[in-house]
């Protein structure tokens, strides 16, 4: 069996007629952590939105293979059921929708799709308890409306909590470090590291090298103007931190 989790081939994508991704290639295998770095407007968040299936993004060419599926043909919920997870940069507040109730609904819809049994209330609660402890999510926050009135740090913890609950095969963390103080950053990173396994993979999208001190990547890619212009190991991130993105741009 192939070790590849996701294979992105020459992906081009437009938003409102403007091309953002201009032929992007990326291979992620089981057990790997990839970091994607790049300046503002380089297409980082577009990449995560396209992979999660956001409607406004129109793919004009290229293919994305996700565990043997044509990812671009799947609805956002089907992508989730197949094992894709996106931790949002700006998690939305949803008043009136309970955090744990919606997660139970999500798990049950996935189990139905995978033709597995529905999760019992007892097992679900045990799981909530275990996973919430992993990211230090306050008991009260679990039962509140989704992200409503959460601080920036609490929202990000909640994202990782949901990730832990859904046990994805590929997690994409979109600027999870933004808005986090150093303590929260550690807790969130610890959570991600504990969830890491030989069977799963993570793509970390970030501006700054800081997060990569905690979530150590196997590969670092630099995204600029819709393409990956350089790939390397974790030392590339350090070099970027030191020299800035202009160093690479002038290199081309």
């Amino acid at each position: 069996m192939s070790n590849t989790i996701i294979k992105i081939n020459n992906l081009r994508c437009e938003v409102e007629g403007q091309e953002i991704l201009k032929g992007l290639n990326l291979d992620v295998k089981k057990g790997e952590i990839h970091a994607i770095m790049g300046p503002n407007g380089s297409g980082k968040s577009t990449l995560s939105s396209v992979l999660a299936g956001k409607e406004e993004y129109e793919v004009t060419s290229g293919t994305v293979d996700f565990l043997g599926n044509d990812l671009l043909e799947l609805s956002p919920e089907e992508r989730s059921w197949e094992g894709l997870f996106l931790a949002f940069q700006y998690p939305v507040e949803i008043p009136g929708v309970s955090n744990v109730n919606f997660l139970r609904t999500a798990l049950n819809e996935r189990n139905k799709f995978l033709e597995k049994d529905q999760i019992s209330a007892k097992d679900f609660l045990a799981m909530v308890k275990e996973k919430a402890a992993l990211v230090g999510l306050n008991n009260k926050l679990k039962n509140r409306s989704v992200n409503e009135g959460f601080s920036g740090g609490e929202k990000k913890r909640n994202e990782i909590f949901q990730m832990a609950m859904l046990e994805p095969k590929l997690s994409i963390l979109d600027e999870t470090d933004s808005g986090l103080d150093i303590d929260a950053l550690k807790i969130v990173s610890d959570g991600v590291n504990q969830l890491k396994s030989e069977k799963t993979a993570t793509i970390v999208i970030t501006h700054y090298q800081r997060l990569l001190d905690y979530i150590v990547p196997d590969f670092v890619h630099v995204l600029s103007d819709g393409k990956i212009i350089k790939s390397g190991d974790k030392s590339l991130a350090l070099e970027l931190e030191e020299k800035g993105y202009d160093w690479l741009k002038s290199d081309i």
């Binding site: 999660a52 299936g53 956001k54 409607e55 609805s75 956002p76 919920e77 992508r79 989730s80 059921w81 997870f85 996106l86 949002f88 998690p91 939305v92 949803i94 008043p95 009136g96 929708v97 919606f102 997660l103 609904t105 999500a106 798990l107 819809e109 996935r110 409306s145 989704v146 949901q162 859904l166």
Partner: protein, 410 residues
């Protein structure tokens, strides 16, 4: 003139209850006539179809089985009014100390003198029509200091097509009394019928009345006119959930006639197909130091039309009033419509009042968020709509009623 006004109702037999009053009602009705599109308060209300109908007298109750599937499964005392008359077979009323239930048809003239005190402050053609054609009325009285812990369920069911039903509920709470009423308006194997209902309530000093109301009329017409009178230190809450009906119109009028009163009116209306649901409310703050809270949420799909018109009047000497009014609507289709008009008229100078109304669509970002977590689109929409009305559903006193109401969303 009389013929023209009563055209749709010419086959109906005038009420034999409180005879002298019913004649007065006819006179008043003829004097003011029915409203039309030129009447400010009725300008969105499509009455033309109603007036093109030719209604018949309702038939006697015949239901043998309680229409369970269409009602919340409460296990409390239940009065079933079928086609305007009591269905004695399905009515099940516990004997409760301090609670008196009487029928207008079995009461004497002494009851006649006790009703209509608040109604008579208002001129309304359908209320006059109700008095003229009244089939039956229920009078509920809770005596001083009696707190009824179990809710009382009153089911108004219409089981015949093309009939006009005129029913009435009268509630009198004496000092320090408490009562919760569940009111269900439903239809069973009926279409093109018209249920014209009037509720009048008198809430004495320190008394507390709570009403949870459900309207699910499918292909029928329903006009409910409510007249509430609150005395000092009393509390009144009404939660109205309207789900379907060719035309549903709620006219809720509350006179706050004492100090330190609490008034709360909430509603959810879901309008689909070609249905029309209209909530007109009026809170009359006549005395100082009171609070009123109003919150209505509309969900409109297909070619449905929803109307919210909430009015609060703070009279000249009613200082220190706090009156809050909110209305939010979600349109689920390109052809759905809502007309929203929050109104405040303030004649006092030391008050805290606010009003606001929003109309929009389901939050795309929230939908995508839920989908990306593996909640299918349909379920995600349902979750968001449940979330949208959650703060109102939470006000329902009876858990079974709440479950039922939430279950009816989409």
């Amino acid at each position: 003139m009389e013929k023209e006004v009563l055209k749709s109702f010419k086959n109906l037999t005038p009420s034999s209850i409180f005879l002298s009053k019913s004649e007065n009602k006819l006179e008043s009705l003829i004097k003011i006539g029915f409203p039309n599109r030129n009447s400010e308060n009725w300008k969105y209300t499509k009455l033309s179809k109603l007036f093109k109908s030719n209604f018949n007298d309702p038939k006697s109750p015949s239901l043998k089985v309680y229409p369970k599937s269409k009602l919340p499964s409460t296990s409390t005392s239940t009065i079933v009014v079928e086609n305007g008359k009591i269905n004695t077979h399905l009515t099940c009323l516990d004997n409760i100390d301090g609670l008196e239930v009487a029928l207008f048809s079995e009461s004497g003239i002494e009851l006649a003198s006790k009703i209509d005190h608040t109604v008579s402050n208002y001129e309304d053609a359908f209320t006059y029509l109700n008095g003229y054609l009244l089939n039956e009325g229920i009078n509920i009285k809770v005596k001083k200091h009696i707190k009824i812990s179990q809710p009382l369920h009153i089911v108004n069911v219409v089981t015949k097509s093309c009939v006009a039903v005129n029913s009435r509920l009268n509630i009198e709470l004496e000092e320090c009394a408490e009562l919760t009423v569940l009111q269900s308006f439903i239809s069973e194997n009926s279409s093109s019928s018209f249920v014209n209902h009037v509720t009048e309530a008198h809430i004495s000093e320190n008394a507390n009345l709570h009403i949870d109301k459900l309207q699910d009329y499918q292909n029928n017409y329903n006009i409910v006119s409510e007249y509430i009178n609150q005395k000092s230190n009393s509390s009144f809450t009404i939660n109205t959930f309207s789900y379907s009906g060719l035309l549903i119109r709620n006219g809720l009028n509350i006179d706050v006639n004492g100090q330190n009163c609490h008034t709360e009116l909430n509603g959810v209306f879901t309008v689909s197909e070609n249905d029309y649901i209209d909530n007109h409310t009026l809170v009359n703050h006549l005395e100082p130091n009171c609070q009123s809270h109003e919150n209505y949420k509309g969900i409109i799909e297909d070619e449905g039309i929803g109307v919210f018109n909430g009015k609060v009047i703070v009279h000249k000497d009613a200082q220190k009033i706090q009156a809050y009014q909110n209305n939010n609507n979600i349109l689920l289709s390109d052809y759905s419509k809502v007309f929203a008009k929050p109104e405040l008229e303030i004649f006092a100078d030391d008050v805290k009042c606010s009003h606001g109304s929003t109309t929009g669509q389901l939050d795309e970002e929230a939908l995508f968020y839920l989908q990306s977590r593996g909640v299918g689109l349909g379920t995600a929409q349902k979750l968001l709509l449940e979330g949208f009305i959650a703060e109102i559903a939470d006000k329902i006193s009876c858990e079974k009623f709440k479950e039922y109401v939430l279950g009816k969303l989409i």
